[in-house]
């Protein structure tokens, strides 16, 4: 009898977890798509264009799932196909580690690193020269973005934990981390900026190489990529807000996400894409200033 009860609880717990994961992934996709649509709309209005509707990114993502899928003869199979599934899988896992379970930031960090690998391989596996250039740029940009993400070590040194739940608890007691380690927040914001569309740092998707690593993926594969992009944008914003602004209500998250999206759109609309060397060196410089400055501030205060 005891065993049956225990099993029942286990089944209910598992089902609750599955439902929670499903709900959060759907929210991440829908909200991420709308935010990216808003990003595009704001950029257009700043550039005095009407721009597409806010739901355009969402419609595009769904549309690709119903379009014909074709595969280049030169592609590296099965990597060419599986890389899009991996792209989607890692960001769904990021939703589980982040908003669902409030797990460790190290896994989010690892997911980001795998994302750089996916960018790399999606570019190189097609055989297209544009994809290949994007692949080489992904290696360059990883050298800069990983130090940016490594600023999370500052959070660990400040709070003594790298678990998202514990960081939120720490902030509930000591106040938001944005006030105690502002340079670390700035560095993380640069990372978010580099992942926003048309960013000065988005060298892997620069228009000089068409769409970079996405150029040769069509149909369902492109649909998976756009779905992953939306979830990735949502997760990065969620991590930033949770880690630096402490416990927030749903309205707080919404206002924060819309604000950051608007700020990045403003920056991207008014700045050109940097060349790869300038982009990487700017990011590395910012990472060094951010990490060094944060350490100095921690020792002084």
């Amino acid at each position: 009898m005891i065993n049956i009860s225990y099993n029942s609880f286990l089944v209910i717990d598992t089902m609750n977890l599955m439902a929670n994961v499903l709900i959060n992934v759907v929210i991440a996709f829908l909200l991420g798509s709308l935010l990216l649509g808003l990003h595009r709309k704001i950029m257009a209005r700043i550039q005095l264009r009407p721009g597409p509707p806010v739901i355009q990114h969402l419609l595009h993502s769904l549309k690709f799932f119903f379009k014909e899928t074709s595969f280049p003869k030169t592609a590296s199979m099965p990597f060419y196909v599986s890389i899009t599934c991996l792209y989607c899988a890692i960001w769904i896992l990021a939703v589980i580690i982040g908003p669902v379970t409030y797990g460790t930031l190290l896994i989010i960090f690892a997911i980001y690193a795998v994302y750089k690998i996916v960018e790399h391989n999606a570019g190189s596996s097609s055989g297209s020269p544009y994809g290949k250039l994007s692949c080489v740029r992904a290696v360059f940009s990883a050298a800069a973005e990983i130090p940016l993400f490594a600023v999370l070590a500052i959070i660990f040194l400040q709070t003594g934990t790298i678990n998202i739940g514990d960081i939120v608890t720490y902030q509930a007691v000591h106040g938001p981390l944005i006030f105690s380690i502002p340079l670390a927040a700035l560095v993380f914001f640069i990372l978010i900026l580099s992942k926003s569309p048309y960013s000065p740092f988005s060298i892997t998707k620069g228009k000089d190489i068409i769409s970079g690593f996405e150029t040769e993926h069509f149909g369902v594969l492109r649909g998976y990529m756009m779905l992953s992009e939306s979830i990735a944008w949502y997760v990065l914003l969620w991590v930033f807000l949770t880690v630096f602004f402490g416990p927030l209500s749903i309205n707080g998250y919404l206002i924060g996400m819309v604000s950051i999206t608007a700020i990045t759109a403003l920056i991207n609309a008014t700045t050109p894409i940097l060349n790869p060397n300038h982009s990487v060196m700017s990011q590395i410089t910012l990472a060094i200033v951010g990490i060094g400055g944060s350490l100095l501030l921690m020792f002084i205060v």
């Binding site: 030169t74 690892a110 690193a113 795998v114 990983i146 590395i284």
Partner: protein, 223 residues
């Protein structure tokens, strides 16, 4: 520093003498990801690079020959397994050995290519990797001298001393050089122009995965 604070709850341990292999969600994720990629590398064929030629309507195709394919695939699988080992081991010396192996194999993966620019880059990266092996093993030796152990499980319970921090800094320099991250990335990026997408992927994958594991290891040592 409590190991669970960094990687999440311990799912299991395998004690091998004073070396304790421990598994947290973080290690499990890293280990599984590397194995998935290694399996995909083992079964994938390579891409053919196609580029338009200037002045004519022809196109040039660059692909990987069969013997080169076999050699590079073997080395890529070895690199994948070494990376997987570095993700899951609980011993600092084993980590340094795996990282040194990754450095050697990475050079091997591109040394079979017959492209001058790529070979130049591989040569430069090889030199950096060789030089970096000194601080890499030196750092581990410093930590052993300071604490009497290289088990991360034991190190997590020892308070940091200046000698341990110095050893950790040496380790960081060694890992940065071996994996070719900033500021050494310029020596490595040109290697990625060669065809053979699955094989060059593992070069990038091993670097990033090792860096993330290194951050965990360094935090264990210095906190």
């Amino acid at each position: 520093m409590d190991i669970t604070t960094l990687g999440g709850n311990i799912l299991g341990t395998i004690p091998l003498g004073d070396i304790v292999i421990y598994l947290t969600p973080f290690h499990l994720f890293m280990f599984v990801v590397v194995l998935i990629f290694t399996a995909l590398i083992a079964m994938s064929r390579t891409e053919t690079q196609v580029e338009a030629e200037f002045g004519t309507l022809k196109e040039s195709k660059v692909s990987v020959g069969l013997s080169e394919f076999k050699t590079r695939r073997f080395l890529a699988i070895v690199c994948g397994l070494a990376t997987a080992g570095a993700m899951i081991t609980g011993d600092l010396f084993n980590i340094t050995l795996f990282i040194a192996l990754i450095g050697i194999v990475n050079v091997g993966i591109v040394s079979a290519v017959k492209q001058v620019d790529v070979l130049d880059a591989a040569y430069q990266y090889g030199i950096i990797a060789m030089i970096s092996s000194l601080p890499l093993f030196g750092g581990a030796a410093m930590i052993l001298a300071a604490t009497g152990t290289l088990s991360l499980f034991v190190l997590s319970g020892i308070a940091a001393t200046p000698m341990m921090i110095f050893g950790a800094i040496l380790l960081l320099i060694g890992i940065a050089g071996e994996t070719g991250i900033a500021p050494f990335f310029a020596t490595k990026a040109e290697m990625f122009r060669t065809p053979g997408s699955p094989f060059i992927l593992i070069i990038h994958l091993s670097s990033l995965m090792v860096i993330i594991r290194a951050i965990e290891v360094l935090l264990i040592i210095v906190t």
